[in-house]
Symmetry: C2
Subunit: 318 residues, 2 copies
Amino acid sequence: MHILVTGAAGMIGRKLVDRLAGDRTISALTLLDIVAPAPPAGFAGTVTPMAADLSAPGTAARAVAARPEVIFHLAAVVSGEAEADFDKGYRVNLDGTRALFEAIRNAGRGYRPRLVFTSSIAAYGAPFPETIDDDFVTTPHTSYGTQKVIDELLLADYSRRGILDGIGIRLPNICIRPGAPNKAASGFFSNIMREPLAGQEAVLPVGDEVRMWHASPRAAIGFLIHAAAIDLAPLGGRRSLMMPGVSATVAEQIAALRQVAGEAPVRLIRRQPDPALSKMFATIPGRFDPRRAAALGFQAETSFEAIIRTHIEDELGG
Amino acid sequence: MHILVTGAAGMIGRKLVDRLAGDRTISALTLLDIVAPAPPAGFAGTVTPMAADLSAPGTAARAVAARPEVIFHLAAVVSGEAEADFDKGYRVNLDGTRALFEAIRNAGRGYRPRLVFTSSIAAYGAPFPETIDDDFVTTPHTSYGTQKVIDELLLADYSRRGILDGIGIRLPNICIRPGAPNKAASGFFSNIMREPLAGQEAVLPVGDEVRMWHASPRAAIGFLIHAAAIDLAPLGGRRSLMMPGVSATVAEQIAALRQVAGEAPVRLIRRQPDPALSKMFATIPGRFDPRRAAALGFQAETSFEAIIRTHIEDELGG
């Protein structure tokens, strides 16, 4: 089996590729990103790294030229950057995705890959009910979210047309993100856990009452692998769906940190309200009832303590 | 005041332009369509007809060069054609709309027109609840509906960015459409009323139990005029909304026809089931609770009899 991963050099991309590298049924990996992704350790098959922008002419056609059976399409400009750079956000997140779908369409000769697209909780915009169900409208309030929902719509139409066999998974906030902060506006949810666990101070720019929907990087990789393998017929025409996660306020995150690691890391969280971020996170989708995902077998952590323990196991050597 | 109407040569476009022509506060009309729209009778101001395709390079910039304060963006490839011609549908309905929005953005110097976009009931896809409310998800099951919802998303993001002041009105099925049938798949809902009222036979290709959400052409023009004038602040980030209408089954349409015009026209309806159309209309959104539109003052007929009487008044000289 041949797999294409776009955004393969990103945090989720690298973890996914490491996981795929251990699968003996995979003979070839095409790894695309704007910087050449590193080949995974211990993979016996062929690796084709591509340093390219999907929205550039010809890139998408080259990426699918070898007709990969499964495509994980993760490549995207993140939320903060898509908000700051209007043109770049639309070019990469909308035009890049459309170019990929068109390249698949133009490959012809019955080519119809499974395509797993990572959408986002940013698909949703306030006002929200207490709990958001699978029938709730997607009205994003950022350019990033707008681009993700447009991609979801294209994914559904190209799937309906039989051009690809797509599924869009709306990722919860990925927490605890390892490594250095990226340009995602939601980075602080991870920073206030990861940095204190490493003995470093972290800034909390919003109020303790802010509620978010979280899943670990490990859970996210699980969603992707599961999405690539399952029968998608039960999705019908609705090819995108919210993934399971843990609903927690910042206060509940901090309480979980205290329970798992004691008082010392909690003291390293410094409250320094940021008016712009406080406004952006005043009304966010913090609680879901993702029944479709549950019915399809998607699974995540069930407590924030478990999310912290996953981080300690996967990133801090236990 | 200067007004731009795209799709000005279409059925709704012509009726809208006729209505605008009677408004003394309007000094100029730019009328765009792929064929040159006819200037309206009795209009004292300047009319600039443009025979052009919005998706062609430079067209959109020319259309907004005179900085119209209000833009009615109706231009679109209809549902049947967008389904039959994938490339044309996306080029006109997605790329053309995006080109218009980009031209507005690039006009600069504080230009921020009111933009009234006609979306569609095709924004919705099954499965449906008994009644569809304003928070119900938009998951179109046609390429046309996909393109309309993508345009709605762009409209919201460009509005949020302050580039334009947009509102997307999701039109019910427009019934009774005057004139010759167009390529809209839903044409039969009108055909089975209009043709018998004119003494002609009409084909009913679906079952009597099919339920649809209808409004007259006159009501649609009322929506457009109202949308151009009202304060849009109450919309918040959700710039598109379902319009009011009448929920009726085909059987209820026929009963209304009998009540208004007697048994003779009813006998001219010939049942000839079309498997493809029957499948397409097996699950359609037939009943809404459009509270947001009602709160904003949008109004439509309240019975199918009233829709038939509107047709007789407006198209058949009473």
